[in-house]
Amino acid sequence: MAKASITFEDIEQTVSVPAGTRVIEVSEKVGAGIIYGCREGDCGTCMMEVTEGWNNLTEPSVLEEKVLKENMAGRHYRLACQAQILGDCKVKPA
């Protein structure tokens, strides 16, 4: 299975994961500082900043784009409960 690595900058921890893993699955297990609310892409609580490897996450869905816009997300912000890891990337809580 293809592997990818994600680095949580706030805790300086890198995790090697199977490609396709959602960020939420990893961040909670390693105790990163991204926090979660509804966990289904609606509330915007888990907004994170992708500092490297923006293109190595799955494309945001139309619904995620809408929630990001409603929450006035900056460039390269994503919802950690929605984004899936395809290649190496670095993230931190927004």
Partner: protein, 427 residues
């Protein structure tokens, strides 16, 4: 003659500034609001009408079952065809209950809401059906009524994500939504006429705004530079007599008392515990010892058996890390721990560090249950908690010291592990 207003006829609007009217509703019999708040004399749902040279604006409406009162007051000063603008500072149902009917009666009116209100608007108006056109606004956007300008201030999370304020520039009136409000019902309407409502004002802040202190401070940065002649919140008295006092009071309430007591740079770590045979207490002491070794961390140790919950809530608000120790009794953590963990809705726990520990007789579920609760409160749990069967051995007490030290090191930014972890190895 004291020149009091009296709105108890339920049909008259009150002109509280030139062409600016209160058209809200009184709810004197309410004793419990939103399940969580009590009120000794009810509340008001304040709604406002502003008349400009080129039309009329309505700011917020009322709870649905008070619609008749709202519409009667509105009709006493304006015709529906004159309404050009409807502004919703906050979409909670006690302020949007009359909205669908208002939109039906004034279909030409344009609706102005904050960006974050859009999904709420749709969810709230579902039962009424239909689509509503709206314009989203942010700080410094404005809408003109000819000789009157309504300017918006983006003040999110006071106390919902959608909240905003609207400022009537020419008269210096701030329509502040729930900010500066309180559940207090008095037909005399003005802060210099109603009874002594200070306790209601502080109680409302403590339960509604306190979890959002940081956002209060952000909002005050926008509000404080304004010329404030009157503040018109959505609940309780209109603040026309020295309104700035209430702004100053909000700043005081949002600033912690004796701030810096723990030290300007020190982090505060609090260990709470309950113990039936002294085993969990012993663990708590060792964890505190371990944490105290780390420079820059101030450790406090408290037995929950010896304290009331409320003062502990204040401590927790200021703390950076919280550890809870509980024995497991009948498969659960003990009640004082849950009492404290269920009293924290009024404080912001996001990003605080948490941890749990405890001694047990045969099953030991308490530690994991406490950790789950803390995760639910959006706290970070950087280290798995320690469970000890009955009396801790010297080796287990050493583990407790290590646990305390690791938590304290997490607080001062010394995470120990740096190697790449494989996802499959994560629990």
């Amino acid at each position: 003659m004291k020149n009091d207003v009296d709105v108890s006829s339920h049909t008259n609007a009150v002109e509280f500034d030139d062409g600016v009217y209160w058209i809200g509703a009184l709810d004197p019999s309410l004793r419990t609001f939103d399940i969580i708040l009590t009120t000794a004399n009810g509340t008001t749902y304040n709604s406002f009408l502003i008349r400009g040279s080129e039309g009329v604006a309505i700011v917020d409406t009322v709870k649905e079952n008070f619609s008749d009162e709202f519409f009667a007051r509105l009709e006493s000063v304006a015709d529906y065809s004159e309404i050009k603008v409807i502004i919703l500072n906050h979409l909670e149902p006690d302020h949007t209950g009359a909205l669908p009917e208002l939109m039906r009666r004034a279909p030409q009116a344009k609706l102005y809401i904050s960006q974050r209100a859009t999904s709420m608007l749709k969810a709230l108006l579902k039962p009424a059906g239909g689509q509503f056109e709206y314009t989203t606004v942010k700080t410094d956007d404005s809408v003109s009524l000819g000789d009157r300008t309504l300017r918006f201030l983006h003040t999110p999370f006071l106390h919902w994500p959608d909240t905003q304020c609207t400022y009537l520039e020419e008269l210096g009136v701030l329509f502040s939504g729930d900010i500066f409000g309180c559940h207090y019902c008095d037909k005399r309407l003005y802060n210099d006429r109603v009874g002594d409502f200070r306790f209601s004002f502080d109680y409302y802040y403590a339960h509604i705004m306190r979890p959002f202190k940081k956002h209060v401070m952000d909002a005050l940065k926008l509000i404080e530079p304004l010329t404030l002649k009157k503040i018109a919140p959505t609940h309780g008295p209109i603040l026309r007599e020295r309104p700035r006092r209430y702004v100053t009071h909000y700043r005081e309430l949002s600033t912690s008392s004796l701030s810096g007591e723990v030290g300007v740079t020190d982090k505060s770590l609090i260990v709470f515990y309950m113990s039936s045979y002294g085993n969990t207490a012993k663990m708590a002491e060792e964890i505190s010892e371990g944490a105290s070794i780390v420079d820059g961390v101030r450790v406090s140790l408290y037995d929950l058996e010896g304290g009331e919950t409320d003062p502990f809530v204040d401590l927790i608000e200021e703390a950076d890390a919280l550890l809870f120790g509980s024995p497991t009794i009948n498969g659960d953590a003990v009640k004082p721990v849950w009492d404290l963990l269920s009293s924290l809705a009024v404080v912001n726990l996001k990003t605080k560090i948490g941890g749990a520990f405890g001694s047990y007789g045969w099953s030991g579920e308490a530690v994991r249950m406490i950790e789950d609760r803390m995760r639910g409160l959006k706290m970070k749990i950087p280290h798995e908690g320690i469970r000890v069967k009955l009396i801790p051995t010297d080796e287990e007490l050493e583990q407790c010291r290590d646990f305390g030290r690791s938590i304290a090191e997490s607080l001062v930014g010394k995470p120990q592990k740096k190697a790449v972890i494989d996802f499959a190895d994560l629990a």
